[in-house]
């Protein structure tokens, strides 16, 4: 198999080899993912190439995340142009989906913008209500072999976090497919981390502790996290 891999590098790549980047990104279907897993288990040369691909994958995410976001000017320009668009004429359409899309297409840009704004406002209100409920609810206590809520003074940690100006470090993390919930919970506890966003194709955004860290410390944290058995990818993220 090793000889086969060397041959592959010199000649045309095999189908399995070409699928490795999608395996790293977690976008293969179950059948192909299994084929790749089996090949990786058999072929150490292929496995080394996969390690290289995971590096590329992590750095590509890091590079793109560092690009920032467009200014408000772009959004203002867009919605000003949409507002200036002529109102659309309703068309004769058949079928439920076409009638629904026809309904929205028939609304003026401003009406739709207001509807979107109201929807966003409703979401904000909902978030505020949930936030108030969470803040007012008595904190859930937990206890592990080495740590209990009463010993750590969680309330102080939370209060400190609210006072911080600089955000604590965050990372995009993908857990290993065989990671158990109990393992993930233990890892989150040991890193004082919480999941703030995620589930999108297996990627979770974690926040660590309540205080900002220096760049070196964040890099060390990422290295430590990456070395965890149940973590298949960890990339610092804004």
């Amino acid at each position: 198999m090793m000889a086969l891999s060397k041959k592959m590098l010199q000649q045309e790549p095999s189908d399995i080899e070409m699928l490795l980047p999608w395996h790293a990104a977690g976008t293969l279907n179950a059948r192909d993912a299994q084929r790749v897993d089996e090949a990786l288990a058999r072929d150490p040369v292929l496995a080394r190439q996969y390690a290289v691909i995971r590096e590329e994958y992590a750095e590509t995410i890091g590079l793109n995340e560092s690009l920032g976001a467009p200014s408000v000017r772009a959004m203002q320009k867009l919605f000003a142009t949409i507002d200036a668009e002529p109102q659309r004429q309703p068309r004769l359409q058949f079928g439920l989906s076409s009638r629904i899309s026809g309904f929205f297409a028939g609304l003026s840009p401003r009406t739709l913008a207001w509807s979107g704004g109201l929807g966003a406002l409703a979401l904000l209100l909902q978030a505020a209500v949930i936030g108030v409920v969470l803040v007012k609810a008595p904190p859930a206590t937990y206890e592990t072999a080495s740590l209990s809520a009463s010993e750590t003074g969680n309330e102080q940690v939370i209060t400190r976090a609210l006072r911080q100006d600089a955000p604590p470090p965050r990372a995009l993390v993908r857990f290993a497919p065989d990671a158990r919930v109990s393992d993930i919970t233990a890892l989150l506890d040991s890193y004082k981390a919480s999941i703030i966003d995620g589930g999108n194709r297996g990627m979770f955004r974690l926040q660590f502790g309540s205080q900002a860290l220096a760049r070196d410390e964040v890099a060390a944290l990422m290295r430590k996290l990456q070395s965890e058995k149940i973590v298949s990818l960890a990339v610092a993220s804004p």
Binding site: D15, A25, T27, V52, E56, E59, I82, G116
Partner: protein, 166 residues
């Protein structure tokens, strides 16, 4: 439209920026993309993810912009910008910072290679979705990414970084 914009504008912007390599142009680009989406919402058939549809429009518009503004001119500007903001390859080598070298070399890939690397790794698009966005057969998608990775390895090697592949 605001919800759609709020949900997708950052990724669309970053994809566009990686193609046109100019923030101002990329901002204008996303305005054009979402305006097109607004005008042509009825043409979206729901056979693919909205993000795939948006990225396909972004790519088409970015290539039009590049053609309009003369490809070479932008490439030169981008190359100069990279020189201004980063260390040269020798310094990168001295630092033995593979991570920094990798990012630098990812910026140095050709437009064809940059877009396919970004679509697969950052935008997490499947082979089928990349084929739809770029408008090439699925087998070409696979081989193009393979050769993009080989090119990346060559660039890294030239910068003094050996990773054991190929």
């Amino acid at each position: 439209m605001q919800v759609l914009y709020g949900r997708h504008h950052v990724r669309v912007f970053r994809f566009g920026l990686r193609l046109v390599r100019n923030e101002q142009v990329a901002e204008d680009l996303i305005s054009e993309v979402f305006l097109d989406v607004w005008r042509q919402a009825g043409k979206f058939e729901g056979r693919s993810a909205v993000s795939t549809w948006l990225l396909a429009i972004t790519r088409f518009k970015a290539l039009s912009v590049l053609r309009r503004k003369k490809d070479l001119e932008l490439e030169d500007e981008a190359a100069n910008a990279i020189e201004d903001t980063s260390d040269d390859p020798e310094v990168v080598t001295q630092k033995k910072d593979t991570s920094e070298a990798l990012r630098r070399c990812l910026k140095g890939l050709s437009q064809d290679h940059r877009e396919i690397v970004d679509l697969v790794y950052y935008h997490e698009k499947s082979v089928e979705e990349v084929a739809e966005i770029v408008g090439i057969p699925e087998n070409t998608v696979k081989t193009r990414l393979f050769y993009a990775r080989k090119k990346l390895a060559e660039l890294l090697k030239a910068a003094g970084v050996e990773r054991g592949w190929p």
